[in-house]
């Protein structure tokens, strides 16, 4: 039984009943695909085609198809990798950390956010493999038993740590996501009319019965997985940052990178969650589940992490000055004033300045502004990685080797291609899987009218409410709210 605050507004609006939830969520799965979805999928599939073409060119002819050179040996590939991995972080944070902190509002967005994590990690994982000169030998990075002698993987290499970090991350996220899906698959299975759907969803639901024991185990497993995932929120991007931090390249060799990268990851992750949620709630009519409140909360997290990132940027400059290391100082002066100043300026504007607009209540509750902001942050975070990788490499120690990088059409194709891959997966997920965790959302519904205080908007607000809702109306009745802090 759930305590419902009289002051705090409900997490699901529209006075939904349990049946309404099932109905709303399953409707998307059971109904014929709508036109907007079909259109979106076609666009995504086109870009997926671009991806496959770019992969073909890369694998068939070589990395030379990209714009890299002897000085800048990583550019868009690793930029995209870090960007995608970062995006994934919000999903884990929402599903694991917020679960442990009993943030109930997470229930309506965690499914989609976790899906986003998994798809983002899939997109991210494309790059470490594709950026290899000989991707067919990618298995060399695994510490496989070697029949030829003692040759093994190099445990000193941050790239090897990456292998473990990313694979662990992907596995745990996938398992966590899937466990959460099982009860919902069972609901769909039970409602399914066609034989194919019934068969598929019964396979997917692993024969879930919904017994009390099963639910108890489900809860336990969720908690354990949340516990396992929580360190991953910190560790994965910490390790990714070590790809740079452990090197000797001025601008990479920085101890601030692990926290800075984690904050940046959550920052960009929430931006991506917002982008996706704002689209999904409209396309699938889930406004009652993903409310403005959710949007405002996520905006706040974005702003906080954005500010952390901003402080990190400034700290880097301070340390460069304070260290008195010539190469380090030049790396940062070059970052801000060198030939790639525009990338640096984009990064600063998008990541540090624009998120501060969230301080304005109007911005944080505005769907169009939030959407624009989330896109801006996504762009800014992409530039952050580009700035770190390319502007550090292009002018390092020996001026004789300084060079510029410009992307080839294949570089661009791979990047937009992974966007295509991501959205293809996400759209398929949104159509065939329940996008909201029905089982968990049901737990946060106020469904027993007489069993406790009822949320009273009139009491809850300290200033005059603008909505006409009458006091004492059961939460299960259709009510419309205007939002407040």
């Amino acid at each position: 039984m759930q305590h419902v605050s009289a002051l705090r507004e409900p997490l699901v609006t529209g006075g939904k009943t349990l049946h309404d939830v099932t109905q709303d969520i399953c409707y998307q799965v059971e109904a014929k695909p709508n036109l907007r979805w079909m259109a979106a999928l076609s666009v995504a599939l086109f870009f997926l085609g671009v991806f496959f073409y770019s992969v073909y060119r890369t694998v068939w002819y070589g990395i030379g198809e990209w714009g890299l050179n002897k000085t800048v040996n990583w550019a868009w590939d690793i930029t995209n990798f870090v960007w995608w991995v970062g995006i994934g972080h919000a999903g884990t944070l929402i599903s694991a950390v917020l679960l442990l902190f009993r943030q109930k509002w997470r229930s309506s967005i965690n499914r989609a956010a976790e899906a986003m994590t998994i798809f983002a990690v899939i997109c991210a994982a494309m790059f470490p493999v594709l950026h290899m000169g000989r991707p067919w030998l990618a298995f060399y990075v695994f510490p496989l038993q070697n029949t030829l002698g003692s040759l093994w993987a190099n445990f000193n290499s941050p790239l090897l740590w990456d292998v473990f970090a990313i694979s662990t991350y992907f596995t745990v996220s996938l398992v966590f996501w899937y466990i959460g899906l099982i009860p919902d698959f069972a609901s769909i299975r039970d409602r399914a009319k066609g034989p194919i759907a019934r068969f598929s969803y019964s396979m997917l639901s692993f024969g879930w019965k919904g017994s009390a024991k099963a639910w108890s185990r489900y809860e336990t497993v969720s908690l354990i997985l949340a516990g396992v995932s929580t360190p991953l929120v910190l560790s994965v991007h910490t390790i990714v940052s070590m790809d740079f931090a452990t090197s000797v390249v001025p601008g990479w060799h920085t101890t601030i990178f692990p926290p800075y990268f984690v904050a940046g990851a959550i920052f960009s992750g929430f931006a991506m969650v917002l982008t996706l949620m704002l689209i999904t709630r409209v396309v699938f009519r889930l406004e009652d589940y993903i409310t403005l409140e959710h949007i405002a909360l996520m905006n706040k997290i974005m702003m906080v992490t954005g500010s952390i990132v901003g402080v990190a940027y400034i700290t880097e400059f301070f340390i460069a000055w304070y260290s008195q290391v010539e190469f380090e100082q030049y790396a940062f002066i070059n970052r801000a004033t060198g030939p790639y100043w525009w990338a640096y300026a984009s990064m600063m504007t998008c990541n540090v300045i624009t998120p501060q607009l969230v301080w304005l209540r109007r911005v944080r509750y505005s769907i169009p502004l939030t959407f624009i902001l989330s896109i801006i942050v996504n762009i800014g975070m992409w530039f952050e990685r580009f700035v770190i990788i390319v502007t550090s490499l292009h002018r390092d120690y020996l001026p004789s080797s300084w060079a510029m990088f410009s992307p080839s059409i294949i570089d661009i194709g791979l990047y937009v291609g992974t966007l295509g891959l991501f959205f293809t997966l996400f759209l398929l997920f949104a159509k065939f899987f329940p996008v909201i965790n029905m089982a968990e959302v049901k737990t946060i519904l106020k469904y027993t009218v007489d069993n406790g205080p009822t949320y009273n908007p009139a009491k809850a607000v300290h200033h005059a409410p603008a909505h006409p809702a009458a006091p004492g109306v059961p939460a299960s009745a259709p009510v419309t709210y205007t939002k407040h802090d």
């Binding site: 000169g133 993987a153 190099n154 790239l159 390092d396 120690y397 080797s401």
Partner: protein
């Protein structure tokens, strides 16, 4: 006695006996297949299935490549063991005594011949690359006779009889060739001339020194730059391209190397238009216009000899004159001008200073330039007026590389009999009726006398690859002498080597003493007196101050004649100064670019002499204001796949005057709308005051205290400032056997690029072509970083702020000082690349070498990112099979070209990282040789390819564990003085040590305070 085979036989049951002697066991009928017809059907299907599968498998079998063993193994050839044969490289430009490395009968590399008193083991970049030209698919592969517009293959006998017939009735015959220094070839030509008495032999040089010859009685004096304390060069690029650069470079550094007990070096003044390799090594460099060169020579003459008015005055010229006067007998003045008046004055200056007999040796003149411009011009005119009956071009391509190329072309049309002995159907050969391609010099016998008294030999190291014949033999055949050229040559040498043992020794050594070259015919124009020279200079028309003057120059890679154009190694060799590859360009001073708002890569139209070409501009620091420079030798149209249409031909801009060919002219430049990117391997040109990268100081500081010329970086520790290697998180490696190391003396390195090509040949390094160089993906394992000095320095930080100072530091000075730093894998003891490789593809050897395991490499490129020296090279493409690279890297695509590859070095696959290995295959070979003889390797026995043929011995390689090795001694001696590691403070602990450059002038590289 009988053995039974089984229990059945022993028992001999009737059932057994029934089948015992039958050939087949009776078919056991299963309960299903009672029907006799069903079994064959199924068998048929089975058999057919098997048959199809077997046929498929068989057709999938990889083709068998046959390796045919020697039926009778030649005594001296052992598979996998290299043989070295002494030979000589001379193709009309620079002379190099070489050792040809031959593996299983294939020449694969050229090295310097240390026995040669002239080149002393040094080798020029061109000579290094020459081995690739042997396997050039662009060579004409058989004799050919022009039928209509195409050349058709002809057999030797038919060809010879036809040519003999034609020549007999030809009347006047001319043989056109570059300078020939072969006594036997000259004898063969003489024999030809005696058979056809109306024969003249005309030699012309593509970078003519007629003026010099004229001023010195028809010879090039022998110079000794090593004995000179003051060197003044008026536009002579003697370290790069002038006459005998390897010889001069070797001499030059003799008096440039410094050590604690020899704190002196020569002072080198250079007055020149374009920034040449020599100018970039000069202590004091003064930019002058080509039209001023006469005045400069006159001013120097007046200052040294005394008297007279000079229209040119410059404090540095006065200083040079004073220095020259102060070191009489140990000074040297040379000039690259082809103006006889200038050369007359230069000769007079040397005479007046008493340099003749010390630094100028008129008794041992050089023969490598004998071309007389007047003779060639006369011949061209004769050809055009129809008085020449036959012309034979012997390795000469005047249609392309002579300023009167257009007239040569029209002249050829008027000559009834035209024969080309050139190795390909080049611009000249294609116009000739008969093509009798000469064999490559590596397929030929020949002899040479580069300098009076010094002889050398070339011997064939492979049978001719194609149906070609040595040109000398062709000439002899046409003269009616059917002897082989070897016998002919042997006869020439009979006097020099009376017995076989002496001859064998010469063949073995490749060099000998003695003289055999007949004297060159006297110059057509008489020598000038100094007075006449002065009046000639004074009466020369004054150039218009606003006109743009063009100076034509020769590049270190591609010679002025362009005969190396189809050699992709040389096309991709970065110009030592501009670092540009693949093509020529208009080098302009910054002021001109600013005034006209031109940017680098803008294409301009250059018009002059009634000729025009379009080329991109390159902003060249040091280029004299009001002048531009264009390299000769580019713009070939019939060189071959790699060399065609690379750049544009600038030869027609040269002026053919009565005084000889002048490599300068007045041109007009107009900008076009096009841009054409110049492929430079280095696009940032200043050092940015980065003393940890490369260091230099002045001679004055060195004389004062050698311990203070190098700045050593110290790091703060609890015990005070310490050397960076005192603090380390790493465990050091133990080197129990060898510890290979290299030292590069920046004072000796002149930046010529010989090592770059040596490394490329030795290590099968791919050529990537212009576009990939523009993409900054050249594969050279070894490069020479070149930095210009800048006016801005860190000392300006406080005054002007860091941001604007750093921006200003990116611009080189107008006439900058230059420093060269050869850069290869530093083989760090704490290698940053090794830790980051996820698969241990790059590891540390027990001898201190950072080694690449290509098989293991998956190509993450993390190592390259983490390399502070950026020496790692990635195989972005499959350079040996991707058709995009067939034009430029063709030698890796054909069976013919692949013969040049070093079998000891893997051709790297796509997606694999590669880098300098310290020539680990040579180290391994040396160790095995020593082991076979049960001894330790001797110091100097194991050398890397770059160190082997460095003309200036700037690179010392050896075992640092051996306390008596040259490198150990050097490092001990220079420790705390000039020895430093690049980027010492990041503590990667390189095994390559640099020695601080000492400049015999104030150093402009770092701010004043830091110099103090």
């Amino acid at each position: 006695m009988k053995y039974w085979k089984g229990i059945e036989e022993l028992e001999s049951t009737p059932e057994f006996m029934q089948s015992a002697f039958a050939e087949f066991m009776p078919v056991k009928e299963s309960h299903e297949s009672k029907d006799a017809t069903s079994a064959p059907r199924r068998d048929f299907l089975k058999l057919m299935g098997f048959g199809v599968a077997a046929a498929t498998l068989a057709s999938c079998e990889t083709p068998v490549r046959k390796a045919i063993p020697y039926l009778n193994k030649p005594e001296e050839i052992d598979p996998t063991i290299s043989n070295f044969y002494a030979s000589t490289y001379f193709t009309g430009a620079d002379y190099n005594a070489v050792l040809v490395k031959s593996r299983e009968g294939r020449p694969i590399k050229l090295e310097g011949n240390p026995e040669s008193p002239i080149t002393q083991g040094g080798l020029s970049a061109r000579a290094q690359a020459a081995v690739l030209s042997l396997y050039d698919g662009g060579r004409l592969q058989h004799f050919a006779i022009k039928k209509g517009s195409t050349h058709e293959k002809a057999e030797f006998a038919a060809f010879d009889s036809e040519v003999r017939g034609k020549l007999a009735g030809a009347g006047r015959i001319a043989i056109v060739s570059p300078t020939i220094i072969s006594p036997s070839t000259k004898r063969a030509i003489a024999e030809f001339a005696s058979r056809y008495p109306n024969t003249t032999h005309v030699m012309y040089d593509t970078q003519s020194v007629t003026g010099l010859l004229q001023a010195n009685n028809g010879v090039v004096p022998g110079y000794d730059f090593g004995r000179a304390n003051v060197i003044v060069s008026l536009g002579a690029d003697f370290l790069g391209t002038w006459i005998s650069p390897v010889e001069y470079a070797r001499q030059y550094v003799r008096n440039r190397k410094v050590r604690n007990d020899k704190r002196s070096m020569s002072r080198h003044y250079q007055f020149e238009t374009a920034m040449t390799l020599t100018g970039s090594n000069a202590d004091i460099r003064v930019p002058v216009k080509p039209s001023e060169m006469g005045a400069v020579a006159l001013a120097l003459y007046n200052a040294v000899v005394g008297g007279g008015e000079s229209s040119y005055s410059n404090a540095k010229l006065t200083q040079a004159a004073n220095d020259l006067k102060a070191s009489r007998g140990t000074g040297l003045v040379v000039s690259g001008s082809n103006d006889p008046a200038v050369q007359t004055l230069v000769a007079a200056i040397n005479q007046a200073l008493g340099n003749v007999g010390t630094t100028v040796d008129l008794n041992a003149p050089s023969y490598v330039r004998q071309g007389d411009d007047a003779r060639m011009t006369a011949l061209v005119n004769d050809m055009n007026n129809g008085s020449v009956g036959a012309v034979i071009f012997y390795n000469a391509n005047p249609v392309f590389n002579h300023p009167l190329g257009a007239k040569v072309k029209s002249g050829i049309a008027k000559v009834p009999v035209t024969i080309s002995l050139n190795d390909r159907l080049d611009e000249t050969g294609i116009l000739c009726q008969y093509a009798a391609p000469d064999s490559h010099w590596l397929e030929s016998w020949n002899d040479f006398e580069p300098k009076r008294g010094f002889l050398s030999l070339s011997q064939p190291v492979i049978t001719p690859l194609f149906q070609t014949r040595q040109a000398q033999e062709s000439l002899l055949h046409w003269a009616g002498n059917n002897t082989t050229y070897y016998k002919y040559l042997r006869a020439t040498w009979r006097a020099l080597t009376p017995n076989d043992a002496a001859w064998d020794k010469v063949v073995h050594d490749g060099v000998a003493t003695g003289t055999a070259l007949p004297a060159a015919p006297a110059m057509m124009t008489a020598a000038l007196s100094p007075a006449a020279a002065i009046s000639q200079i004074n009466s020369a028309p004054k150039a218009n101050g606003n006109a743009v003057e063009l100076a034509l120059y020769e590049k270190v890679g591609i010679g002025a004649g362009g005969c190396e154009a189809n050699n992709p190694f040389l096309q991709e060799l970065p110009d030592p100064v501009s670092k540009a590859t693949w093509g020529n360009y208009v080098a302009i001073p910054r002021a001109m670019a600013v005034a006209n708002k031109w940017e680098q890569n803008d294409v301009v139209k250059v018009t002059g002499n009634g000729y025009s070409i379009e080329l991109p501009v390159l902003i060249q620091p040091g280029q004299t204001n009001g002048t531009v420079s264009i390299a000769l030798g580019y713009g070939r149209t019939l060189a071959g796949k790699a060399g065609d249409q690379v750049g544009a031909n600038a030869a027609p801009f040269a002026m053919a005057t009565a005084n000889g060919i002048m490599y300068n002219n007045v041109v007009t430049l107009t900008k076009t709308d096009a841009t054409s990117p110049i492929a430079q391997t280095q696009t940032h040109h200043t050092l940015m005051d980065r003393k940890p990268v490369v260091q230099e100081n002045s001679l004055a500081a060195y004389i004062k205290n050698p311990k203070e010329v190098t700045e050593y970086e110290k790091i703060a520790t609890p015990d005070g400032l310490e050397k960076p290697n005192k603090v380390s998180l790493w465990q050091d490696y133990q080197y129990n056997n060898h510890h290979w190391g290299m030292a590069v003396d920046l004072n000796s390195c002149i930046g010529c690029g010989s090592c770059v090509i040596g490394c490329q040949t030795e290590n099968n390094i791919a050529v990537v072509g212009k576009q990939q160089v523009i993409n900054r993906r050249e594969m050279h394992w070894m490069r020479i970083d070149r930095y210009y000095s800048s006016k801005a320095h860190k000392t300006d930080f406080e005054e002007k702020g860091k941001v604007s100072t750093y921006a200003a530091m990116e611009d080189p000075s107008e006439n900058p000082q230059v420093i060269f730093q050869p850069m290869m894998c530093q083989q760090c003891n704490h290698a940053p690349c090794e830790t980051v490789c996820p698969v241990l593809a790059t590891t540390h050897s027990s001898e201190g070498i950072n080694q690449m395991t290509y098989n293991r490499c998956i190509g993450t490129r993390y190592c390259a990112n983490n390399c502070p020296y950026k020496v790692r090279r990635f195989n972005w493409f499959s350079y040996y099979s991707n058709e995009k690279f067939e034009t430029v890297n063709g030698h890796m695509f054909t069976d013919l070209g692949r013969m040049v590859l070093n079998p000891d070095v893997t051709v790297r696959a796509r997606g694999v990282m590669e880098k300098c290995t310290f020539c680990v295959q040579r180290i391994q070979l040396g160790k095995l040789e020593a082991k076979k003889q049960k001894r330790r390797p001797v110091d100097g026995e194991i050398v890397t390819a770059c160190a082997q043929s460095c003309p200036t011995e700037a690179i010392v390689f050896g075992d640092m564990r051996d306390p008596n090795s040259r490198i150990s001694q050097l490092l001990r001696r220079e420790d705390g003085e000039r020895a430093f590691h690049a980027l010492d403070s990041i503590n990667v602990q390189p095994n390559v040590t640099y020695l601080t450059k000492i400049r015999n002038a104030e150093s402009e590289f770092f701010g004043k305070e830091e110099n103090a």
